[in-house]
């Protein structure tokens, strides 16, 4: 039933005469402007209906809208919180990334320092070892020279001794013995 139908019903209830066509349509006085009675009754009914709507449907609608607003706000808050969390996470990631870079730089710097120290130490040790080797070689050379010299002198002494023994034994005949004895006697007799 349309509003106008309701108005017509309400007019009948109120005792107003309502003209209708054979098909049951309400016939008004003007095609565009209803009659005053219709306006009054229709307006009153509309007010009543609106009042009823405001009275009965308003609070639930407000409640619904408030709830919907709260829900939307909640979703907005959650989204904001998620955004903040995401931004914080992004910050942490960026910070971690920065820390990793700093750590990498520190490790590289330490490794470089250790490598430099090892290089310096290695060079110093190498220099020392070379000096030691040179000193040892020089010492060995001197020792070898001395040893060879000693061996040579020993060999010369041995050969000379053997030669002396052979020469002496070959030349010591009886005449030489007697000459040595006479020389000894004369030499001792000359002492006083």
């Amino acid at each position: 039933m349309s509003v106008l139908g309701i108005i017509a019903v309400a007019g009948r209830v109120a005792g107003e005469t309502v003209t209708t066509d054979p098909q049951g349509h309400v016939i008004t006085n003007s095609a565009y402007v209803p009659s005053l009675t219709e306006i009054v009754w229709g307006g009153g009914a509309a007010v009543v209906v609106i009042a009823l709507l405001v009275w009965k449907a308003g609070p639930p609608a407000k409640k619904f809208l408030a709830a919907r607003t709260a829900k939307i706000q909640k979703e907005l808050d959650a989204a904001a919180a998620d955004k903040s969390a995401a931004e914080a996470e992004a910050t942490n990631i960026r910070q971690a990334k920065g820390d990793i870079a700093a750590e990498r730089a520190l490790i590289i710097a330490e490794a470089q320092a250790q490598a430099d120290a090892l290089l310096i130490d290695g060079r110093a040790r190498l220099v020392t070892e070379v000096a030691d080797l040179e000193a040892r070689a020089a010492s060995d050379l001197v020792a070898a020279q001395g040893r060879v010299g000693d061996e040579l002198r020993g060999e010369i002494s041995r050969l000379s001794s053997a030669a002396v023994d052979q020469v002496v034994n070959g030349t010591l005949d009886d005449a030489t013995h007697q000459e040595l004895i006479e020389h000894f006697i004369a030499h001792v007799g000359a002492q006083s």
């Binding site: 010369i156 002494s157 000379s160 001794s161 002396v164 023994d165 002496v168 034994n169 010591l172 009886d174 030489t176 013995h177 007697q178 040595l180 004895i181 006479e182 020389h183 000894f184 006697i185 004369a186 030499h187 001792v188 007799g189 002492q191 006083s192």
Partner: protein
């Protein structure tokens, strides 16, 4: 053996030889035997081997000296060897010679030579040593081939070395 015991044996041998009246001859024979004993390992081993009975060691001495030395010398050496003092025989004899020389106010002059000396050489050598040391000497000549040539004379603490051995050693040392 202690020095006292060696002195005791030397004094006993000296007194026996002097009592027999042939101290000079016995002293000389003992000295020569002592030098032979020192230079011969076989003789030294035979006379000091405790496993050989004393009678057998004395028999060896008598075989060696019998007919070549006076009976006094043979008996004295036999006595020393038989009493187990063969190892100290040279020291005992040296003491005896020193005692005999001292009794005549002489100093023992031990002369080592590579070849034997003639009597004339010994006389001149003794005179030369008297002149050099200022002491009367009792000359004892030892033939020692290790001298090689020349002589080595020892009078008390004085050594006069004219041996070829020493000169060769000095030459080797310088070399």
């Amino acid at each position: 053996m202690s020095d006292n015991r060696i002195d005791g044996y030397a004094r006993a041998l000296f007194e026996v030889a002097r009592a027999e009246g042939n101290i000079d001859e016995v002293e000389d024979e003992l000295f020569r035997f002592a030098r032979s004993y020192e230079s011969s390992d076989a003789l030294r081993n035979a006379l000091t081997d405790e496993k050989i009975p004393a009678a057998k060691r004395q028999a060896i001495v008598e075989d060696l000296l019998g007919g070549k030395a006076t009976s006094t010398t043979t008996q004295l050496v036999s006595m020393v060897v038989g009493s187990g003092r063969g190892r100290d025989l040279p020291a005992i004899v040296d003491k005896l010679v020193a005692r005999a020389s001292s009794s005549k106010n002489l100093e023992v002059a031990e002369v080592r030579t590579a070849v034997p000396l003639t009597d004339d050489q010994q006389t001149r050598l003794a005179a030369a040593l008297v002149n050099a040391t200022g002491k009367q000497v009792n000359l004892k000549v030892v033939v020692d081939p290790s001298v090689i040539g020349g002589l080595v004379a020892t009078v008390g603490d004085t050594v006069i070395d004219g041996s070829v051995r020493t000169r060769i050693d000095q030459l080797k040392s310088r070399l």
